[in-house]
Symmetry: C2
Subunit: 699 residues, 2 copies
C-alpha cells in the first residue's frame, strides 16, 4: 500500500531549486549524498539543470515513470500540482510545503481542495507541512527528507509526529552508532496517518523494533486497533509528550489539533503492549539494546563490575525497574572461586576488580549465562590502564553474540585515547549495547525486562455477561435524550444498573412522605432518603440526603422537611435505599474520550480519591485481568485486603462489577460520564449506593 | 592544611616502576603528560631511571624537599615507608596500595600501624586503596592519579568516595568539554576525610561549584557541620548511591563500611542546602550550567524554539521541576511581533520557526531577558539546513555572556558535518551550556532553579523553649538506665513529656481499682485505661487498653478484669487518661542514627503511616521552618486543613510539639527511639495520648 512512498523507484521534485540551502535543493542533495538508487527528476520551469541533474519544466515532461513526488511550492499552487501528479500516474506525494490547516481557514480550504484531487486519482498524500521519509535499505537509499542526519542501515524504524523530535531521535541513534531502517515524519497528516505507518513498519521484514513519538492521536481507536496487531509481532517503543497541562498547551500550539492533558494515549500503550517512555534519550538508548539483544525471560539480573561505585548506582536503578539482583547459587560461586582473582568479590554484583582481564571477565560471564537464577546481565567495564582492555571487549562480544541472555554494558573510557578507541571499536562491531554511564545502561536493561513482562502479559478478551438487558437500558437513555435531559434521574440510573446486573442497595423512588414510609417498611430499616430532582445536582451539599433513618417517624419527618425546604426547586422525588454502614467506600467512574470510547476509573472513595487522587484508569472494554490490575494498582490496595484487624472486601465482586460497567459502556456509547460513587464493599458483597449518568444529547 | 596534598611542589613515588601499565609507572606518565610543574622523584631500589627520570634507591637519597609522596608497594611494607616519609619531612602521602581495612584483620592492623607512624610525624594520609588527586591549575598541573582522563582547567571540583564513579564524573565532564579544578577520590579514607576535602574546596578560590559522590558517611555529623559552611559560599551538587536495600548491600560490599539503607545522608543534604541528584549523568550536566550561568531569581521560564516537539518535551520536564512557563506580557508580544517571521508563534514557548536566523533568535532572547515575568531561558536550537546557524550561535553566546539571566540550550545537530562543527565551536567557546536533547537541557535548568530555591530557603535556628526541665528528664532516664531498663514505663514517659511542655492528655498512674476510680473522677469521664507493665510491650494486642469508660463502675470492672487476666505477667500499673475522641491521629517519632544524632519523623497515624508510609523525616534539631515543612510535606497534608466539611487541626500546636520533641532529643542523646503515637489533634489543641521511649543502656 505505502510502497510507493517508502520504496520509490523514481522521485520527482516539484519546486526543485538551484538555490542552495532551500528545501527544493537540500532534498535533491540529500538523495544524491545518501546514494539513492532510483531516478531523480527535478521539476523547475526556468532551470535546465538542478544539482547537476536535468530539470523538467513540468511533471508531464518527465520521460520515465514516477511513483513519488515531493511538492515544495507555495501553498496556493499545490491543488493544481496534485492534479498534475494524478495525470502523470504518480502514486504518492510528500507535500513539504506549509500553509494549510495549521494556518487557519484559507489553508484548510486549500487542503480540502488538494485532498479531493488526490482522491480522484487515488494518490496517497504524506504531509503537508512535513519532512518526509527515509529508507536506509542499501538496495534503495531513499532520503526523501531535508534533515541532516544520514543513518546507517539497521533494524530500528522511527515514526514521529514532530519532525524536530524525529530528527533528534535519528541523530541520537546515529550518535550511538545504531543502524536505522525506515523513518517518517508526516506533519499535518492529512491522509497517510501514523497508525498506517506503524502498520507498514509492522509488515516490513527489515524492521525489528519501532520507535514512536507522539503528542496524542486524532483517531486513538484506529491506533489502538492497528498497533495492537503490530505489538504482537515486534516491540513498539513509544513516547507521548504533552503529559503536563503546560506541555499539552505547547503541543496544541504547534500541531493545532489537541488540547488538554490526554491520559488516554498512555492507557492505550498499556492496553496493547507498547513500551512507554518519558525521556527521549532513554527511548533511543533502549532501542540500542532491542536492536541486538534477546528479550529476558524474567527479572533477575547478574552484575559484573570491575569498579565498585558504578555497581551501586546500577543496582539502585535496576531495583527501581522491579529487577532483582539475587544471590548467586553455590555452584556459581564455586566456579567463580576457581577463576577470579583473590581480591574479587564473589557475590552479586560480582566485582572482578580493576585488574581483571579477558579470562576473568569471560569466566564471570559464563557463570551468569549458565546460572538458571539469572535472566539478564549488566556489565560495568572501565578501561583500567593496567589490563588488556581489548581482550575484555572480545570476550564480552563473544558472549553477547551467543544471544542466550541479554546483556548491556556500561563502558567507561576516554575516547580521546587511541588505545581505547580500539577497545570501543571491538564492542561496537560486536553490537554490544554500550552506554557511557551506569544509570543509562541499567535503564536500557530495565526496558528489556519491562518489555519481557509486557510480552508475557495476556489481558484476555472482555467477558460478556449474558444476564443483561441492553434494550431496556437503551430505551431509558433514548427516552431521556428525547426529553432533552442530559443527566438521568436516580430512578433511571438504578434501572440501568439493574439491567446490567450491577448490584445496588435495595431502593425505591417515591413522591410523597406516605409512600416513603411504605417503601421504607418494605426495604427494611435503617434507610437513607435522597432527594431526586433534575434541578438539584449536588443533593448532598443542598441537604438533600439523610442517612440512618431508623423508623417510620424519622422517614416521614425527613421527607416532609425536605419537601418544605427544597420544594421550590422543582418537582421532588425521593429515593429510599437500604442504609449499609461499615463497608469500604469505593468508586468506579467512566468518561467518554473523543474518538476512543470510554475510560473506566477505579479507586477508593472519599479522601482517597479527593485528596490522594489514588485512582487507576483503563480503556474500555476492561477484561478480567485488567480489572484485577485496577484493584492491585491503587497505592492503597492493601486496604482492600483489610488492615488493623478489619476484614478485607469481596474483591471478586468488585472485579465483576468493573467488568459489568465496562460491558454497559460498550453497549451504550452515548454515555458521556458515569459514576458509581460510592460503592459500599463488604467482606462478602459490594453494592452501588449512589450513581450518576450523563448522556450526550444528539444535536 | 591540605596544601601539601593538593598543591605539591615535589612528588616522590615510593614504588615507581619501569613496568609499563603498572600503577607505579602510570602515575609518573600521567604527571608528565599533564605537564606537572613540580619535581618528580621516582623511588626504586633497582632502576637508575624510571620514565626518563633519575630514580633514587630510597626517599632519603632524594636531594630536594618533597611535600607529597605516593606509596605503591605491597601493604606489609607501608608502615616502614611512612616512617621514612616522616624522616624525609614529607607532609602528605597518597597510599595507592590496597590490602588494609577492606581486607580483614591483618590489613586493619597494618593500617593502625602506619597511621600511628603518620601521627608521630604529623603526616596527613590520603587513602589507602585509593586513586589520588588532580589539580588542574595551569601553574601546577598536578595529576597524582592513575586514571586516564585529562581534564582541562575549570571551576568544578569533584570529590568521590568511589574511584570508579569519580573517574566517570571526570570523564563525562571532559566529554562535555567542561573544565575542572580539583579532583579527589580517597578510598578507605583512614585520615583525610571527605568532609575535610569539601572544606578545602570551599576555601579554594578557583572552585565555583563542587560535585560530591558518596554512598554514606562514617561521620555524618562532621559532614553536616563542615558542608553547611561550604554551601553558604558555593553550590554543592551531590549524589548519594545505595538508595535501595540492594544498592546499599552492593555499597557495603565494596566499601565494607556501611549496611542498610541510609536515609540520613539525603536528609543532611536537604538540611544544609546541598543540591541532591539521583543520576550521575544529570549531576554532571547540571554542573555544566552551574559553571557558566547565574542562579535564577525565580521559577518562571521563557522558552525559545525553532522546532515544535522538543519544546513540548522540555515543557513537560520543566513543569516537573515546579517551573512555570507563564504567558508573555503584552509588551513582550508586541516586541516579538515587530521582529519575528509571520509564521512564528508568539507565545511561550516562542516558536521562532525553523527559518529563524540570528536576528530572530536575538530579538526573542532580548524580549525574554527584558521581561520581568521571566527568570530563566530555555532554548531549542536545531541547526536547520536553510539558515545561518553560526549567526544564531553568536547571538546566543552574546546574550549568555551578559549573565543577566541563566540560559540553557538544547542544541540539536550533526557533529559529523563540518558546517555544524563550526556552529558548535562558537557555542562552546561562548560557554553556553549545550545539551543533546530537550530533557537533558530542561533538567539542567531545573537544577539551577532548584538551587535558586535552596539558596532562598532559610531554616533559621532551632527555637529553645525555656519552660522545660532537662534535669528532671535526665534523672528519670538515668534511673531507668541504672535499673537496666531499656524501655521506659508510661509514668516515666509522661513525666519526661511534661518536663518538656509536651501536652499530654490528663493522666495518672495507679496500682489498684480503687485508686483508678479516684483518678478517673479527678480526670473526668470518659477515660481510657491502659495497663502499664515492663513485661507487656504491645499492650493493645494483649487486651491491655480499654477506651471510652464512662463511669466508676466501668473503670473498676475494667481494672479488675485486667488484673485477673494479665496479672501473671508481672506487677501491673494502670495508666488512666482522659478519653479524647474525634481528633485527627498524628504520629511523631524519633530514632538515633549512628554518629549523627536523631532523625525526627512526622505523619498521620493509622493507615497513613502503616499502609501509605506517608511520613516526613528531618535531622534534629528541627527548626520552626523545618517543622512547618514537615506538616506541608506529607502527601495527605490537605487532611490537616480539613476536608469534606471537617475542621482542620491546630497546626501551630503540632509545629511547636515537633520543636519541643526536637529540643528534648538534643538534651537527651541517650534516647534510642521515641514515639508519640498517636497524637490527637483538634481544631484548637493537640495532645500526645500515647508515647514510648527506648534508651541506650551503657555497657
Amino acid at each position: 500500500m505505502l510502497d510507493a512512498l517508502f520504496k520509490p523507484k523514481a522521485v520527482a521534485l516539484v519546486g526543485a531549486s538551484t538555490k542552495e540551502l532551500s528545501i527544493g535543493n537540500v532534498i535533491i542533495r540529500n538523495l544524491q549524498k545518501y546514494g539513492y538508487k532510483g531516478e531523480i527528476y527535478p521539476v523547475n520551469a526556468k532551470a535546465a539543470e538542478v544539482c547537476g541533474l536535468k530539470a523538467y519544466p513540468t511533471l508531464a515532461d518527465i520521460p520515465g515513470e514516477v511513483d513519488l513526488a515531493h511538492i515544495i511550492i507555495p501553498s496556493q499552487f499545490v491543488p493544481d500540482a496534485i492534479e498534475e501528479c494524478g495525470k502523470k500516474g504518480i502514486k504518492a506525494v510528500i507535500i513539504n510545503s506549509a500553509g494549510f490547516s495549521e494556518m487557519g481557514e484559507e489553508g484548510a480550504r486549500l487542503q480540502e481542495e488538494f485532498l479531493a484531487n488526490a482522491r480522484k486519482y487515488g494518490i496517497r498524500l504524506f504531509g503537508p507541512n512535513c519532512q518526509g521519509i527515509i529508507n536506509s535499505d542499501p538496495e534503495l537509499n531513499a532520503y526523501c527528507n531535508f534533515t541532516f542526519t544520514f543513518p546507517k542501515p539497521g533494524s530500528i524504524s522511527v515514526v514521529a509526529l514532530s519532525g524536530g523530535v524525529g530528527a533528534l531521535i535519528m541523530q541520537v541513534l546515529d550518535d550511538l552508532d545504531i543502524g536505522q531502517r525506515l523513518y517518517a515524519s508526516n506533519g499535518n497528516a492529512c491522509d497517510v496517518s501514523i497508525p498506517e505507518i506503524i502498520e507498514y513498519y509492522g509488515e516490513d521484514e527489515g524492521t525489528k523494533a519501532i520507535i514512536l513519538y507522539t503528542e496524542g492521536f486524532d483517531k486513538p481507536r484506529e491506533f489502538l486497533e492497528v498497533a495492537r496487531k503490530v505489538t504482537a509481532k515486534k516491540p513498539v517503543l513509544a513516547m507521548k509528550a504533552g503529559r503536563t497541562e503546560e506541555g499539552a498547551k505547547a503541543a496544541s500550539s504547534h500541531t493545532g489539533s489537541l488540547a488538554g492533558v490526554d491520559i488516554a494515549t498512555e492507557l492505550i500503550f498499556e492496553k496493547i503492549g507498547v513500551l512507554p517512555f518519558h525521556d527521549e534519550g532513554e527511548i533511543v538508548r533502549a532501542a540500542m539494546a532491542f536492536s541486538s539483544q534477546p528479550i529476558p525471560k524474567g527479572n533477575r539480573a547478574g552484575i559484573i563490575t570491575n569498579t565498585g561505585g558504578p555497581a551501586v548506582i546500577a543496582t539502585d536503578v535496576l531495583v527501581g525497574f522491579g529487577i532483582e539482583v539475587p544471590k548467586l547459587c553455590e555452584a556459581s560461586i564455586a566456579r567463580l572461586q576457581e577463576t577470579q582473582f583473590p581480591q574479587a568479590a564473589l557475590e552479586n554484583p560480582i566485582d572482578v576488580v580493576a585488574t581483571a582481564g579477558g579470562p576473568q571477565f569471560r569466566a564471570a560471564l559464563d557463570v551468569l549465562i549458565d546460572d538458571e537464577q539469572i535472566d539478564c546481565i549488566y556489565i560495568n567495564f572501565v578501561t583500567a590502564p593496567f589490563t588488556d582492555t581489548d581482550a575484555v571487549a572480545r570476550e564480552i562480544v563473544a558472549v553477547s553474540q551467543q544471544r542466550r541472555k541479554p546483556l548491556v554494558c556500561n563502558f567507561m573510557t576516554n575516547l580521546k585515547l587511541e588505545r581505547y578507541q580500539k577497545t570501543t571499536a571491538i564492542l561496537k562491531a560486536g553490537e554490544v549495547p554500550c552506554y557511557a554511564n551506569p544509570g543509562d545502561a541499567a535503564r536500557a536493561l530495565g526496558a528489556l525486562v519491562q518489555y519481557g513482562r509486557i510480552q508475557q502479559r495476556d489481558i484476555g478478551a472482555p467477558q460478556i455477561f449474558s444476564n443483561t438487558d441492553p434494550a431496556a437500558a437503551k430505551a431509558i437513555i433514548e427516552q431521556a435524550g428525547q426529553a432533552g435531559r442530559e443527566v438521568l434521574s436516580a430512578f433511571e440510573v438504578y434501572r440501568i444498573f439493574e439491567a446490567y446486573g450491577i448490584p445496588v442497595a435495595p431502593w425505591q423512588v417515591v413522591e410523597t412522605a406516605k409512600a416513603a414510609v411504605a417503601a421504607a417498611e418494605q426495604i427494611g430499616y435503617p434507610v437513607v432518603v435522597k432527594v431526586d430532582c433534575a434541578e438539584i445536582d449536588h443533593k448532598s451539599d443542598m441537604g438533600g440526603v439523610a442517612i440512618n433513618l431508623k423508623d417510620a417517624a424519622a422517614v416521614r419527618a425527613t421527607v416532609e422537611e425536605m419537601q418544605n425546604r427544597l420544594g421550590n426547586y422543582g418537582k421532588l422525588g425521593y429515593l429510599l435505599q437500604k442504609f449499609l454502614p461499615g463497608g469500604r467506600e469505593l468508586i468506579i467512574g467512566a468518561s467518554a474520550e473523543r474518538e476512543l470510547g470510554h475510560l473506566v476509573m477505579f479507586g477508593l472513595g472519599g479522601i482517597y480519591v479527593e485528596v490522594l487522587k489514588d485512582v487507576v484508569f483503563k480503556v474500555a472494554p476492561v477484561t478480567r485481568v485488567e480489572a484485577e490490575e485496577m484493584l492491585a494498582g491503587i497505592k492503597t490496595a492493601a486496604l482492600l485486603d483489610g488492615v488493623r484487624g478489619e476484614a478485607g472486601i469481596d474483591k471478586q465482586a468488585v472485579i465483576e462489577l468493573i467488568q459489568r460497567v465496562s460491558q454497559l459502556l460498550g453497549d451504550l456509547p452515548m454515555i458521556e460520564e458515569m459514576d458509581l460513587n460510592p460503592i459500599m464493599a463488604f467482606a462478602d458483597k459490594a453494592f452501588a449506593v449512589d450513581g450518576r449518568i450523563r448522556i450526550q444529547l444528539e444535536n
